[in-house]
């Protein structure tokens, strides 16, 4: 359990424990269970060693979680009320989309449940970090993480000379607009999202022929899930490759795009690199 935590994080933590004294330690939760992929990762970033008891099952899936390697140090749970209760937690971290019946049952059983809403923009990320720092009793660490996040984001999203038009295209012809986390990542990396031209601000279905007529310079397509599904076939439709001016920029990974953690910067950096490669290609 200790192996996955960098020593640099332990030293300020120990210092904080010494300074704040026994009262504060008693207030910080000691048995934290997370049942949501995004709270898993925020908790891993901010919790003290031994503070986490269990993470959600998805946290071990390297396709979905940016911190699967670190998460493997902890056991997983199936996010059900019975299983979570038997872990005897003093704090449960869940998403606002976690089954309401599960959350209500845990609360009725006297367990503190903190709900984290999904991040809808990069501006939500500092807020999520600060909140996780507060509920875990590591405010100072959270502050430092937020400062680092803001600085790195400012560096990556420096105004580009030209903003290429791009589309995010997922299974079932789904696209994401500017008012989503993925859309915001795209914007920060210096692209204009064609979903806006189609009138989509949030997520929605963009028919294949609509996408082709918008003729974006780059189509960033969603990841390929294991196994086969007809819903995925739209991503390999010949029409996507028939436009001379359009580049299908391969698969984007879910893991760096879906959770409001500092790791979204990986996605911003990759998309920025893609934009720069377009410029040199011209």
């Amino acid at each position: 359990m200790w192996g996955c935590v960098r020593p640099s994080r332990i030293i300020p933590l120990l210092a904080a424990l010494v300074l704040t004294g026994a009262a504060a330690v008693a207030e910080a939760p000691q048995r934290v269970v997370s049942v949501n992929l995004c709270t898993d990762q925020l908790a891993l970033l901010l919790a003290a060693p031994g503070q986490i008891v269990s993470l959600s099952r998805l946290s071990h899936d390297a396709e979905s979680s940016s911190m699967a390697a670190a998460a493997r140090a902890y056991p997983t749970n199936g996010s059900g009320a019975e299983e979570v209760y038997l872990l005897n937690p003093d704090l449960v971290l869940a998403g606002t989309f976690t089954a309401p019946t599960t959350v209500q049952m845990l609360r009725d059983l006297g367990i503190r449940v903190e709900l984290f809403g999904p991040a809808r923009s990069l501006a939500d990320v500092p807020d999520r970090i600060a909140r996780m720092g507060a509920v875990l009793g590591h405010e100072a660490e959270a502050e430092a993480m937020i400062a680092a996040f803001r600085a790195e984001l400012a560096r990556l999203s420096a105004a580009p000379d030209r903003r290429p038009r791009a589309a995010l295209y997922y299974v079932n012809s789904y696209t994401l607009g500017d008012r989503t986390l993925a859309g915001d990542i795209l914007r920060a990396a210096g692209f204009d999202n064609v979903a806006a031209e189609a009138g989509l601000e949030q997520g929605g279905t963009l028919a294949l022929e609509h996408l082709i007529l918008l003729a974006p310079e780059v189509i960033v397509s969603g990841r390929d899930y294991p196994g086969q599904a007809r819903a995925e076939e739209v991503l390999s439709h010949p029409a996507l490759h028939a436009l001379p001016g359009t580049r299908v920029a391969g698969t984007l990974t879910d893991r760096d795009w879906i959770c409001g953690t500092p790791l979204v910067l990986t996605a911003v950096e990759k998309m920025r690199a893609l934009r720069l490669s377009l410029e040199t290609g011209e």
Binding site: N172, A207, I212, Y225, G227, A229, A239
Partner: protein, 326 residues
Amino acid sequence: MRLAPGLILLVAVLFVLSLLSGQAPVGAGQSLTALIAGDGTPLAVVMREIRLPRALLAAMIGAVLGLSGAAMQGYLRNPLAEPGLIGVSGASALGAVLAIQTGLSLMFPLALPLAALGMAVLAVLLILALAGPRGASITLILAGIAISALAGALTSLVLNLSPNPFAAADIVFWMMGSLADRSFTHVWLAAPFMAVGALLLASLGRGLDALTLGEDAAEALGIGLSGLRLRLILGTAACVGAATAVAGAIGFVGLVVPHLLRPAVGARPSSLLWASALGGAAMVLAADIAVRELLPARDLKLGVLMALVGAPLFLHLIYKTRKEMA
């Protein structure tokens, strides 16, 4: 015979209308010019890579389903025989799903139509074995219900066991059928099987005409009944298997179309074959235009529309034949 030119004209008009209907609002002249010019503009790509294969598949699938229905009804001398109702389409869908989920179709694309065809052969054999040469309605329908239910359940099971999070949603596609976002890959995959199947079924005309006089009379006229039966099984399986493998199970085409056209051809099974092929093409083209015009933003399934038209007719036919079934 003014039926043939009329039907051909209808199919041609609906084919052009199908090319012109879609989510993107573009003028008709502009669209057709782009289709013919094929100059690599976005509109030309939409016309050539998305709408043309879709219209072609609608016509091809409708034709083979209409033809299969007419052939089965001629052979069993029962107007209720239809590939969708008697479970052949459901079995084909199971074959296609197995080919896709085992990964066979990735290694070997023809595995998709072949697996669908294999399961379709099994279903037709089972139906003919259960219903017997005269194909009594009650056994035909009961056997069809059983085969459809089993195939549907196994299809759902296979898709639910898939590691892909979207596979379970595919159940609707395989049960109801859709032509959304099909490409020329699917056209080329299905076309050879459909061509062979259609030729086999078209060759049944004389035999089916003779069969209207009864089996003994047909034999006396020099019709080899076992050969006829074999061509019917393989032809239907190839047609329905290929259609279902690329577009899912689209029901009721083979029921509605022969029923509507039977009076127009004087109830001659041989004439009904080609008439039902043309009528089927027109019907599926029309339905595929309707699904795009009624709910452009949603992928309304073809089978839903077909059932809305076909189910009342099916009930009407059962009502008419209830004396036989009693």
